[in-house]
Protein backbone atom coordinates (compact mmCIF):
# COMPACT_ATOMS: atom_id res chain seq x y z
CA UNK A 1 0.00 0.00 0.00
CA UNK A 2 2.76 2.32 1.04
CA UNK A 3 4.62 1.44 -2.15
CA UNK A 4 1.57 2.31 -4.21
CA UNK A 5 1.29 5.60 -2.36
CA UNK A 6 4.96 6.36 -2.99
CA UNK A 7 4.34 5.47 -6.60
CA UNK A 8 1.36 7.82 -6.72
CA UNK A 9 3.36 10.66 -5.22
CA UNK A 10 5.97 10.08 -7.91
CA UNK A 11 3.48 10.28 -10.77
CA UNK A 12 3.20 13.22 -13.05
CA UNK A 13 -0.49 13.59 -12.30
CA UNK A 14 0.21 14.28 -8.63
CA UNK A 15 2.81 16.91 -9.42
CA UNK A 16 1.64 18.81 -12.46
CA UNK A 17 1.60 22.58 -12.46
CA UNK A 18 -0.68 24.43 -14.85
CA UNK A 19 2.23 26.12 -16.62
CA UNK A 20 3.82 22.79 -17.40
CA UNK A 21 0.62 21.54 -18.98
CA UNK A 22 0.37 24.61 -21.17
CA UNK A 23 4.01 24.36 -22.23
CA UNK A 24 3.52 20.71 -23.14
CA UNK A 25 0.66 21.81 -25.34
CA UNK A 26 2.99 24.35 -26.90
CA UNK A 27 5.44 21.50 -27.51
CA UNK A 28 2.65 19.46 -29.08
CA UNK A 29 1.80 22.47 -31.21
CA UNK A 30 5.36 22.61 -32.48
CA UNK A 31 5.25 18.90 -33.25
CA UNK A 32 2.01 19.47 -35.13
CA UNK A 33 3.55 22.28 -37.17
CA UNK A 34 6.59 20.13 -37.89
CA UNK A 35 4.82 16.90 -38.81
CA UNK A 36 1.44 17.91 -40.21
CA UNK A 37 2.40 21.25 -41.73
CA UNK A 38 6.04 20.48 -42.53
CA UNK A 39 7.20 23.69 -40.81
CA UNK A 40 11.00 23.45 -40.55
CA UNK A 41 10.62 19.93 -39.15
CA UNK A 42 14.34 19.30 -38.74
CA UNK A 43 14.46 21.74 -35.87
CA UNK A 44 10.87 22.06 -34.73
CA UNK A 45 10.39 18.33 -34.19
CA UNK A 46 13.24 17.86 -31.71
CA UNK A 47 12.48 21.29 -30.25
CA UNK A 48 8.84 20.49 -29.65
CA UNK A 49 9.85 17.19 -28.13
CA UNK A 50 12.39 18.93 -25.93
CA UNK A 51 9.67 21.33 -24.80
CA UNK A 52 7.55 18.38 -23.70
CA UNK A 53 10.42 16.65 -21.92
CA UNK A 54 11.61 19.73 -20.04
CA UNK A 55 8.16 20.33 -18.59
CA UNK A 56 7.63 16.85 -17.21
CA UNK A 57 7.22 17.18 -13.46
CA UNK A 58 9.55 15.16 -11.20
CA UNK A 59 11.67 13.92 -14.14
CA UNK A 60 14.12 16.82 -13.95
CA UNK A 61 15.32 16.78 -17.56
CA UNK A 62 16.69 20.31 -17.27
CA UNK A 63 17.98 20.12 -13.73
CA UNK A 64 21.53 19.24 -12.79
CA UNK A 65 22.05 15.62 -13.84
CA UNK A 66 19.27 15.71 -16.41
CA UNK A 67 19.85 14.97 -20.08
CA UNK A 68 18.65 18.33 -21.39
CA UNK A 69 20.72 20.15 -18.81
CA UNK A 70 23.88 18.53 -20.17
CA UNK A 71 22.84 19.16 -23.75
CA UNK A 72 22.04 22.81 -23.12
CA UNK A 73 25.18 23.66 -21.20
CA UNK A 74 27.57 21.67 -23.35
CA UNK A 75 26.19 22.68 -26.70
CA UNK A 76 24.15 25.84 -26.59
CA UNK A 77 25.45 27.86 -23.69
CA UNK A 78 28.93 27.42 -25.18
CA UNK A 79 27.68 28.29 -28.65
CA UNK A 80 29.17 25.10 -30.07
CA UNK A 81 26.02 23.60 -31.61
CA UNK A 82 24.92 26.64 -33.65
CA UNK A 83 28.51 27.07 -34.85
CA UNK A 84 28.71 23.45 -36.01
CA UNK A 85 25.38 23.88 -37.79
CA UNK A 86 26.71 27.02 -39.41
CA UNK A 87 29.78 25.13 -40.60
CA UNK A 88 27.50 22.55 -42.18
CA UNK A 89 25.35 25.22 -43.78
CA UNK A 90 28.53 26.77 -45.16
CA UNK A 91 29.47 23.42 -46.64
CA UNK A 92 26.06 23.26 -48.31
CA UNK A 93 26.13 26.81 -49.70
CA UNK A 94 27.09 27.61 -53.27
CA UNK A 95 28.12 31.24 -53.59
CA UNK A 96 28.34 30.98 -57.38
CA UNK A 97 25.22 33.06 -58.06
CA UNK A 98 26.41 35.79 -55.72
CA UNK A 99 29.93 35.97 -57.13
CA UNK A 100 28.50 36.16 -60.63
CA UNK A 101 26.39 39.14 -59.67
CA UNK A 102 27.91 40.80 -56.60
CA UNK A 103 25.45 43.72 -56.57
CA UNK A 104 23.03 41.25 -55.04
CA UNK A 105 24.89 41.83 -51.78
CA UNK A 106 23.11 45.18 -51.50
CA UNK A 107 19.80 43.33 -51.44
CA UNK A 108 21.13 41.14 -48.63
CA UNK A 109 22.17 44.32 -46.85
CA UNK A 110 18.86 46.11 -47.32
CA UNK A 111 16.87 43.19 -45.93
CA UNK A 112 18.74 43.52 -42.63
CA UNK A 113 16.75 46.68 -42.02
CA UNK A 114 14.18 44.23 -40.73
CA UNK A 115 16.55 43.49 -37.86
CA UNK A 116 17.39 47.04 -36.89
CA UNK A 117 13.87 48.37 -37.28
CA UNK A 118 12.65 45.54 -35.04
CA UNK A 119 15.25 46.46 -32.45
CA UNK A 120 13.68 49.89 -32.35
CA UNK A 121 10.25 48.31 -32.18
CA UNK A 122 11.24 46.07 -29.31
CA UNK A 123 12.40 49.06 -27.31
CA UNK A 124 9.13 50.81 -28.17
CA UNK A 125 7.23 47.83 -26.74
CA UNK A 126 8.58 48.82 -23.34
CA UNK A 127 5.72 51.28 -23.31
CA UNK A 128 3.40 48.28 -22.91
CA UNK A 129 3.01 47.50 -19.20
CA UNK A 130 4.51 44.14 -18.22
CA UNK A 131 7.11 44.21 -20.97
CA UNK A 132 10.58 45.30 -20.10
CA UNK A 133 13.14 44.62 -22.78
CA UNK A 134 16.72 45.71 -22.25
CA UNK A 135 18.84 46.60 -25.27
CA UNK A 136 20.32 43.08 -25.09
CA UNK A 137 16.87 41.54 -25.12
CA UNK A 138 15.80 43.78 -27.97
CA UNK A 139 18.86 42.85 -30.00
CA UNK A 140 18.31 39.14 -29.46
CA UNK A 141 14.68 39.52 -30.52
CA UNK A 142 15.50 41.66 -33.51
CA UNK A 143 17.81 39.04 -34.96
CA UNK A 144 14.69 36.99 -35.75
CA UNK A 145 14.43 39.34 -38.73
CA UNK A 146 17.66 37.79 -39.99
CA UNK A 147 15.64 34.67 -40.87
CA UNK A 148 18.58 32.51 -39.96
CA UNK A 149 18.09 29.90 -37.24
CA UNK A 150 21.62 29.20 -36.01
CA UNK A 151 22.46 32.92 -36.01
CA UNK A 152 19.40 33.67 -33.91
CA UNK A 153 20.16 30.87 -31.45
CA UNK A 154 23.82 31.87 -31.20
CA UNK A 155 23.03 35.51 -30.54
CA UNK A 156 20.19 34.79 -28.13
CA UNK A 157 22.35 32.37 -26.14
CA UNK A 158 24.87 35.18 -25.70
CA UNK A 159 22.59 38.17 -25.14
CA UNK A 160 19.34 36.89 -23.67
CA UNK A 161 19.41 33.17 -22.80
CA UNK A 162 16.12 33.42 -20.91
CA UNK A 163 14.40 34.48 -24.14
CA UNK A 164 16.11 31.80 -26.23
CA UNK A 165 13.13 29.49 -26.39
CA UNK A 166 10.66 32.11 -27.55
CA UNK A 167 13.14 33.57 -30.02
CA UNK A 168 13.91 30.20 -31.56
CA UNK A 169 10.23 29.33 -31.81
CA UNK A 170 9.53 32.63 -33.51
CA UNK A 171 12.53 32.43 -35.84
CA UNK A 172 11.81 28.95 -37.11
CA UNK A 173 8.06 29.43 -37.29
CA UNK A 174 8.38 32.56 -39.39
CA UNK A 175 11.03 30.94 -41.56
CA UNK A 176 8.51 28.20 -42.26
CA UNK A 177 5.88 30.85 -42.93
CA UNK A 178 7.99 32.66 -45.52
CA UNK A 179 5.79 31.37 -48.40
CA UNK A 180 2.77 32.90 -46.65
CA UNK A 181 4.25 36.12 -45.25
CA UNK A 182 6.25 37.27 -48.24
CA UNK A 183 4.07 37.07 -51.38
CA UNK A 184 1.45 39.70 -50.39
CA UNK A 185 4.18 42.16 -49.46
CA UNK A 186 6.02 41.43 -52.68
CA UNK A 187 2.90 41.91 -54.77
CA UNK A 188 1.90 45.08 -52.96
CA UNK A 189 5.24 46.76 -53.57
CA UNK A 190 5.74 45.82 -57.22
CA UNK A 191 3.83 46.36 -60.45
CA UNK A 192 3.03 43.45 -62.76
CA UNK A 193 5.51 44.80 -65.26
CA UNK A 194 8.26 44.83 -62.70
CA UNK A 195 7.47 41.25 -61.72
CA UNK A 196 7.78 40.25 -65.37
CA UNK A 197 11.33 41.51 -65.71
CA UNK A 198 13.68 38.84 -66.99
CA UNK A 199 17.28 38.99 -65.88
CA UNK A 200 20.50 38.41 -67.83
CA UNK A 201 22.03 34.98 -67.59
CA UNK A 202 24.72 34.67 -64.93
CA UNK A 203 28.36 34.42 -65.99
CA UNK A 204 30.39 31.30 -65.27
CA UNK A 205 32.19 31.41 -61.91
CA UNK A 206 35.57 29.71 -61.69
CA UNK A 207 36.82 27.35 -59.01
CA UNK A 208 39.47 29.78 -57.80
CA UNK A 209 36.86 32.49 -57.20
CA UNK A 210 34.79 30.11 -55.11
CA UNK A 211 37.84 29.14 -53.07
CA UNK A 212 39.04 32.69 -52.45
CA UNK A 213 35.58 34.05 -51.69
CA UNK A 214 35.13 32.52 -48.20
CA UNK A 215 38.68 33.56 -47.33
CA UNK A 216 37.96 37.12 -48.46
CA UNK A 217 34.77 37.24 -46.44
CA UNK A 218 36.60 35.95 -43.38
CA UNK A 219 39.41 38.45 -43.85
CA UNK A 220 37.02 41.35 -44.05
CA UNK A 221 35.18 40.14 -40.99
CA UNK A 222 38.46 39.88 -39.12
CA UNK A 223 39.39 43.40 -40.11
CA UNK A 224 36.10 45.11 -39.46
CA UNK A 225 33.96 42.97 -37.20
CA UNK A 226 35.83 40.38 -35.12
CA UNK A 227 32.74 39.76 -32.99
CA UNK A 228 31.13 38.14 -36.02
CA UNK A 229 34.07 35.82 -36.65
CA UNK A 230 32.72 32.80 -34.75
CA UNK A 231 29.67 32.69 -37.01
CA UNK A 232 31.30 33.89 -40.20
CA UNK A 233 34.46 31.88 -39.54
CA UNK A 234 32.73 28.54 -39.12
CA UNK A 235 30.51 29.31 -42.09
CA UNK A 236 33.55 30.09 -44.23
CA UNK A 237 35.37 26.99 -42.97
CA UNK A 238 32.47 24.85 -44.17
CA UNK A 239 32.36 26.68 -47.48
CA UNK A 240 36.11 26.38 -47.96
CA UNK A 241 35.94 22.64 -47.23
CA UNK A 242 33.28 22.43 -49.91
CA UNK A 243 34.92 24.49 -52.60
CA UNK A 244 38.54 23.49 -52.07
CA UNK A 245 37.74 20.03 -53.39
CA UNK A 246 40.58 18.48 -51.38
CA UNK A 247 38.68 17.44 -48.26
CA UNK A 248 35.49 16.05 -49.72
CA UNK A 249 35.11 13.47 -46.98
CA UNK A 250 35.16 16.20 -44.33
CA UNK A 251 32.77 18.36 -46.33
CA UNK A 252 30.35 15.48 -46.80
CA UNK A 253 30.42 14.64 -43.12
CA UNK A 254 29.88 18.29 -42.18
CA UNK A 255 26.84 18.44 -44.49
CA UNK A 256 25.34 15.19 -43.32
CA UNK A 257 26.09 13.19 -40.20
CA UNK A 258 27.67 15.98 -38.18
CA UNK A 259 24.93 18.50 -38.89
CA UNK A 260 22.26 15.84 -38.34
CA UNK A 261 23.63 14.80 -34.96
CA UNK A 262 24.01 18.41 -33.91
CA UNK A 263 20.52 19.30 -35.13
CA UNK A 264 18.91 16.64 -32.94
CA UNK A 265 20.69 17.89 -29.85
CA UNK A 266 20.32 21.56 -30.74
CA UNK A 267 16.58 21.10 -31.08
CA UNK A 268 16.33 19.27 -27.77
CA UNK A 269 18.49 21.84 -26.05
CA UNK A 270 16.53 24.82 -27.39
CA UNK A 271 13.32 23.06 -26.43
CA UNK A 272 14.62 22.76 -22.90
CA UNK A 273 14.36 26.54 -22.62
CA UNK A 274 10.62 26.40 -23.24
CA UNK A 275 9.69 26.37 -19.58
CA UNK A 276 6.50 28.04 -18.45
CA UNK A 277 8.14 30.87 -16.50
CA UNK A 278 10.30 31.80 -19.48
CA UNK A 279 7.62 31.43 -22.13
CA UNK A 280 4.21 32.08 -20.65
CA UNK A 281 4.31 35.83 -20.34
CA UNK A 282 3.40 38.86 -22.31
CA UNK A 283 6.97 39.24 -23.52
CA UNK A 284 6.60 36.11 -25.63
CA UNK A 285 3.61 37.64 -27.31
CA UNK A 286 5.73 40.70 -27.96
CA UNK A 287 8.47 38.53 -29.42
CA UNK A 288 6.07 36.69 -31.70
CA UNK A 289 4.60 39.98 -32.88
CA UNK A 290 7.96 41.60 -33.40
CA UNK A 291 9.15 38.57 -35.36
CA UNK A 292 6.34 38.97 -37.85
CA UNK A 293 7.13 42.68 -38.12
CA UNK A 294 10.81 41.94 -38.62
CA UNK A 295 10.15 39.51 -41.46
CA UNK A 296 7.75 41.88 -43.13
CA UNK A 297 10.04 44.90 -42.89
CA UNK A 298 12.99 42.84 -44.09
CA UNK A 299 11.02 41.61 -47.07
CA UNK A 300 9.77 45.07 -47.90
CA UNK A 301 13.16 46.75 -47.63
CA UNK A 302 14.71 44.05 -49.82
CA UNK A 303 12.05 44.57 -52.49
CA UNK A 304 12.31 48.37 -52.33
CA UNK A 305 16.07 48.22 -52.60
CA UNK A 306 15.75 45.99 -55.66
CA UNK A 307 13.29 48.44 -57.21
CA UNK A 308 15.74 51.23 -56.64
CA UNK A 309 18.63 49.22 -58.05
CA UNK A 310 16.55 48.30 -61.09
CA UNK A 311 16.16 52.03 -61.74
CA UNK A 312 19.85 52.90 -61.50
CA UNK A 313 21.40 49.73 -62.90
CA UNK A 314 21.93 49.11 -66.57
CA UNK A 315 21.11 45.41 -66.25
CA UNK A 316 17.45 44.85 -65.40
CA UNK A 317 16.76 43.58 -61.89
CA UNK A 318 13.47 41.95 -61.02
CA UNK A 319 12.42 43.52 -57.69
CA UNK A 320 11.00 40.22 -56.47
CA UNK A 321 14.47 38.82 -55.81
CA UNK A 322 14.96 41.53 -53.22
CA UNK A 323 12.66 39.59 -50.94
CA UNK A 324 15.12 36.71 -50.96
CA UNK A 325 17.58 38.97 -49.13
CA UNK A 326 16.10 38.02 -45.78
CA UNK A 327 17.88 34.66 -46.25
CA UNK A 328 15.66 31.74 -45.10
CA UNK A 329 17.68 29.73 -47.64
CA UNK A 330 16.40 28.37 -50.00
CA UNK A 331 12.74 29.03 -49.23
CA UNK A 332 12.80 32.77 -49.89
CA UNK A 333 14.49 32.25 -53.24
CA UNK A 334 11.84 29.73 -54.18
CA UNK A 335 9.12 32.17 -53.20
CA UNK A 336 10.66 34.82 -55.45
CA UNK A 337 10.75 32.30 -58.28
CA UNK A 338 7.15 31.28 -57.73
CA UNK A 339 5.76 34.83 -57.57
CA UNK A 340 7.78 35.65 -60.67
CA UNK A 341 6.33 32.71 -62.56
CA UNK A 342 2.81 33.91 -61.77
CA UNK A 343 3.50 37.13 -63.69
CA UNK A 344 5.62 35.60 -66.43
CA UNK A 345 5.47 31.83 -66.90
CA UNK A 346 8.82 31.81 -68.72
CA UNK A 347 10.70 33.71 -66.06
CA UNK A 348 12.79 31.49 -63.84
CA UNK A 349 14.24 33.69 -61.11
CA UNK A 350 15.53 30.91 -58.87
CA UNK A 351 19.22 31.20 -59.72
CA UNK A 352 19.06 35.01 -59.62
CA UNK A 353 17.35 34.91 -56.23
CA UNK A 354 20.04 32.62 -54.81
CA UNK A 355 22.45 35.59 -54.89
CA UNK A 356 20.51 37.84 -52.48
CA UNK A 357 19.49 34.72 -50.57
CA UNK A 358 23.03 33.75 -49.58
CA UNK A 359 23.92 37.43 -49.24
CA UNK A 360 21.21 37.56 -46.60
CA UNK A 361 22.99 34.85 -44.61
CA UNK A 362 26.15 36.94 -44.61
CA UNK A 363 24.17 40.08 -43.90
CA UNK A 364 22.49 38.69 -40.82
CA UNK A 365 25.73 37.21 -39.51
CA UNK A 366 27.25 40.67 -39.89
CA UNK A 367 24.26 42.23 -38.16
CA UNK A 368 24.64 39.71 -35.33
CA UNK A 369 28.28 40.68 -35.03
CA UNK A 370 27.39 44.37 -34.83
CA UNK A 371 24.86 43.70 -32.10
CA UNK A 372 27.37 41.58 -30.18
CA UNK A 373 29.99 44.31 -30.52
CA UNK A 374 27.73 47.18 -29.50
CA UNK A 375 25.43 45.73 -26.85
CA UNK A 376 27.10 42.38 -25.97
Amino acid sequence: MEALHTLWLSTGLANFEAGQVVMMLVGCGLLYLAIARNFEPLLLLPMGFGAILTNIPVAGFSEVGGLLHYIYYAGIDTGIFPLIIFMGVGAMTDFGALIANPKMLFLGAAAQFGIFATLFGAIALNAVPGIEFTLKDASAIAIIGGADGPTAIFLASKLAPELLGAIAVAAYSYMALVPIIQPPIMRALTSVDERKIEMAQLRHVTKIEKIIFPLGVLLMTIFFLPSATPLVGMFCLGNLMRESGVVDRLSTTAQNELINITTIFLGLGVGSKLSSHAFLNVETLGILGLGAVAFSIGTASGVLMAKFMNKVSKDPINPLIGAAGVSAVPMAARVANKVGLEANPHNFLLMHAMGPNVAGVLGSAVAAGILLALVG
Partner: protein
Protein backbone atom coordinates in the same frame (compact mmCIF):
# COMPACT_ATOMS: atom_id res chain seq x y z
CA UNK B 1 9.85 57.72 -19.59
CA UNK B 2 13.22 59.40 -19.18
CA UNK B 3 14.81 55.98 -19.27
CA UNK B 4 12.71 54.96 -22.26
CA UNK B 5 13.78 58.04 -24.19
CA UNK B 6 17.39 57.18 -23.57
CA UNK B 7 16.78 53.64 -24.79
CA UNK B 8 15.08 55.01 -27.89
CA UNK B 9 18.07 57.15 -28.68
CA UNK B 10 20.38 54.20 -28.19
CA UNK B 11 18.17 52.02 -30.36
CA UNK B 12 18.04 54.66 -33.05
CA UNK B 13 21.80 55.04 -33.00
CA UNK B 14 22.15 51.28 -33.22
CA UNK B 15 19.79 51.18 -36.16
CA UNK B 16 21.71 53.87 -37.98
CA UNK B 17 25.17 52.57 -37.17
CA UNK B 18 24.08 49.03 -37.90
CA UNK B 19 22.62 49.73 -41.31
CA UNK B 20 25.57 51.93 -42.27
CA UNK B 21 27.95 49.21 -41.24
CA UNK B 22 26.05 46.40 -42.97
CA UNK B 23 25.95 48.38 -46.22
CA UNK B 24 29.58 49.37 -45.89
CA UNK B 25 30.67 45.83 -45.19
CA UNK B 26 28.72 44.16 -47.95
CA UNK B 27 29.60 47.04 -50.27
CA UNK B 28 33.27 46.39 -49.63
CA UNK B 29 32.58 42.76 -50.44
CA UNK B 30 31.13 43.86 -53.79
CA UNK B 31 34.34 45.75 -54.46
CA UNK B 32 36.36 42.73 -53.36
CA UNK B 33 34.49 40.48 -55.78
CA UNK B 34 34.77 42.94 -58.66
CA UNK B 35 38.37 43.89 -57.97
CA UNK B 36 39.92 40.65 -56.84
CA UNK B 37 37.83 37.65 -57.78
CA UNK B 38 36.92 38.79 -61.28
CA UNK B 39 40.61 39.30 -62.01
CA UNK B 40 41.52 35.95 -60.52
CA UNK B 41 38.89 34.36 -62.73
CA UNK B 42 40.55 35.80 -65.80
CA UNK B 43 44.06 34.95 -64.73
CA UNK B 44 43.31 31.42 -63.51
CA UNK B 45 40.46 30.13 -65.66
CA UNK B 46 39.10 26.72 -64.79
CA UNK B 47 40.92 23.79 -66.26
CA UNK B 48 39.04 22.40 -69.25
CA UNK B 49 35.72 21.02 -68.09
CA UNK B 50 35.40 17.42 -67.03
CA UNK B 51 35.28 15.09 -70.01
CA UNK B 52 32.11 13.33 -68.90
CA UNK B 53 29.59 14.02 -71.67
CA UNK B 54 26.46 15.81 -70.50
CA UNK B 55 24.37 12.94 -71.73
CA UNK B 56 26.30 10.38 -69.71
CA UNK B 57 26.21 12.68 -66.70
CA UNK B 58 22.48 13.08 -67.04
CA UNK B 59 22.05 9.35 -67.15
CA UNK B 60 24.23 8.66 -64.14
CA UNK B 61 22.98 8.64 -60.57
CA UNK B 62 22.24 12.09 -59.19
CA UNK B 63 23.95 13.67 -56.22
CA UNK B 64 21.51 12.50 -53.60
CA UNK B 65 22.41 8.94 -54.45
CA UNK B 66 18.98 8.10 -55.77
CA UNK B 67 18.58 6.88 -59.28
CA UNK B 68 16.67 8.91 -61.83
CA UNK B 69 13.47 7.40 -63.24
CA UNK B 70 14.83 7.05 -66.75
CA UNK B 71 17.81 5.09 -65.46
CA UNK B 72 15.48 2.86 -63.48
CA UNK B 73 13.43 2.35 -66.62
CA UNK B 74 16.54 1.59 -68.65
CA UNK B 75 17.82 -0.85 -66.09
CA UNK B 76 14.51 -2.58 -65.76
CA UNK B 77 14.35 -2.86 -69.53
CA UNK B 78 17.91 -4.23 -69.56
CA UNK B 79 16.97 -6.67 -66.82
CA UNK B 80 14.03 -7.97 -68.79
CA UNK B 81 16.12 -8.24 -71.96
CA UNK B 82 18.76 -10.10 -69.99
CA UNK B 83 16.20 -12.42 -68.47
CA UNK B 84 14.51 -13.17 -71.75
CA UNK B 85 17.89 -14.18 -73.15
CA UNK B 86 19.12 -16.18 -70.17
CA UNK B 87 16.02 -17.98 -68.94
Amino acid sequence: MEHLNELFIEAGTLMLAGMVFVFAFLGLLVIFINAVLAKLAIRYPDAKPQTKSPRAAKASTNSAGSVSPSVVAAISSAVSQYRSKHN
